[in-house]
Symmetry: C2
Subunit: 342 residues, 2 copies
């Protein structure tokens, strides 16, 4: 049984898209799970009625949705920390506070990424030993999905932070992708250990000494193959600047390719079908790993389908107890900083 | 009239590919231009005869090729600086020395990139005021080709270096792509000026104050569009770590897409045709900008066609006097460091 809070006001298509996502997700979820729609209660309620009008079986899903009132709205133009302080009744703050209060198990939002990072860190707190949480994204490859992190939470990263990202990504790969002993690779400009900038070179050494399954460096050209010459890769570690540039670049490839193909006379449905599995909305949600809880970041432009998938990622994180596993892994790696409860 | 030195021993397919490239290029070049094939004289000579055997008009191209003996061979596994010191008779050193001696106008190689960077900087020297040369690559986009630099020469870059890359790239766009007043964008993780890591944030300010046509930040998702909301982009500036990761990632996209398309039942020739213009071999050569001369870096796996195109890039650089323009631009930007000859 999980209670998942969904930001009904976050994203370019709110409240329509989040509510449509909830209505898509609920029939596919075990009936013990509920969705908490966090937002302006009147607006959310009206939108639910609008979308359910004329639909059969509305009562069944209606029973498994609760509305949590949050009349304030964080705008994309707001400064993250200022917004979460000055708008305590925003869906972001209220949704995460539910989790801090033990009234919810996960939070999903397509609102401002900066505000979600700040609010998640501030309200849920960080696991002991970790200096910064990281956004973890799934990259489709020719072989299998690969976890890439950080995809944008941290622009300047130390070697220790890169190693912590490897730990976070490994737990994610184990719990969400069900990969035992996930192989970690360090994104670099060459395969040789002496390549890279200062932090990356030192991270290489630390990763070698760690208890992680470290494969060595991975170059940009090997990401889509999902493997280096040393084998298949499950986790790619990089700083948030490189990760963000790469992720956004990657997301822009499929539309361009479909455009080129249709211009070359390939029918659009064939072109789109050819790219199946490379569509971002299949992957939907990027967890902010390292906070004490479950906070899933979705694109501002997320479709109902993308948000539905983000809800599923949230549920898998809850059911697998990913957060607890992350805490244990970090505590083992940072014994002095750890709380000593284990 | 230009004399272009071509490393006959560099790359995965040497000497076959470089010599095939010369034989492809010469009939298309004005008859005043000559190619200097630098490598093991005996091997090069035998390969020329092999490739010309039975071909018509061999004498015409043979007259416009000279062989410059360079029996040493730099291996991909050699340490760059050690190799250029210990192998003075390597094709890399001999080919660049021709230019330093005024006996050649440009150098093209598919050999070790590290050795070519080191040898070019060491033998040709850097323009006054510049701390590091940068590798400049052409990125195909939906709109027009975009110059991206640095694509791998420098992993840690200061804000001043990023601004110098903007200057180098602007001259390249003017002289090689014939774009007047090229628009420069700074690769970043958001469009807002306050985004990015330390060096990038400071570079934003310096670029704003410079005499360059600075458009602001460009995100990963806008590169393939070749434009931001502020207009079309000619030059994308980034450090060599991000640039290298992105470039190698980009190069891996077309083969994957062709694979996906053919698996989906699209005929291979149609798939390949759809991706025309996105094939790296159309672009062939990446100049090392900032050294006093012309040094064009090609992929180790370059095909004869890619190397032919690199020869054309070299020729355009010579004919447009790009190197002189770069010197003047840098001198104007760094008056104290400049030689004061202007």
């Amino acid at each position: 049984m999980a209670r998942i809070a969904l930001d009904a006001m976050g994203g370019d298509h709110a409240p329509e898209a989040p509510i449509a996502a909830a209505l898509l997700a609920l029939p596919e979820l075990d009936s013990t799970h509920t969705i908490q729609l966090v937002g302006d209660a009147e607006m959310v309620s009206a939108e639910i009625e609008r979308q359910l009008a004329g639909a059969k079986g509305g009562a069944m899903v209606r029973d498994r949705m609760t509305i949590v009132d949050a009349p304030d709205r964080i705008l994309m133009s707001d400064k993250p920390m200022a917004a979460i302080r000055s708008k305590p009744k925003s869906s972001m703050v209220v949704g995460l506070q539910l989790q801090a209060d033990g009234a919810s198990e996960a939070f999903v939002s397509a609102g401002s990424t900066g505000a979600q990072m700040a609010a998640s860190t501030f309200i849920l707190g960080r696991h002991a030993g970790l200096t910064r949480p990281a956004i973890s994204t799934l990259f489709p490859t020719a072989r299998q999905q690969v976890v890439m992190l950080d995809s944008g939470a941290n622009v300047d990263c130390s070697e220790e932070e890169l190693v912590d990202f490897a730990r976070l990504g490994s737990v994610y790969a184990e719990d969400i992708l069900l990969r035992p002993n996930p192989a970690v690779a360090l994104l670099n400009i060459g395969e040789e250990r002496e390549k890279g900038n200062g932090a990356v070179k030192k991270a290489y050494e630390l990763l070698e000494q760690s208890d992680l399954n470290f494969l060595g460096n991975i170059e940009g050209r090997d990401i889509l193959a999902g493997a280096t010459e040393h084998g298949a890769v499950d986790v790619v570690v990089c700083d948030g600047f490189v990760g963000n540039v790469l992720l956004k670049f990657y997301e822009s490839v499929p539309p361009l390719i479909v455009g080129l193909m249709t211009r070359a006379g390939v029918e659009k449905h064939r072109a789109t079908a050819a790219l199946q599995g490379f569509d971002y909305s299949d992957y939907g949600g990027a967890p902010l790993l390292g906070v004490k809880g479950v906070s899933i970041i979705s694109h501002g432009e997320s479709s109902p389908r993308a948000l539905k998938n983000a809800l599923f990622v949230a549920l898998r994180a809850v059911e697998s107890r990913m957060n607890e596993h992350i805490g244990r892994r970090l505590e083992a790696a940072h014994p002095i900083a750890g709380s000593g409860q284990s």
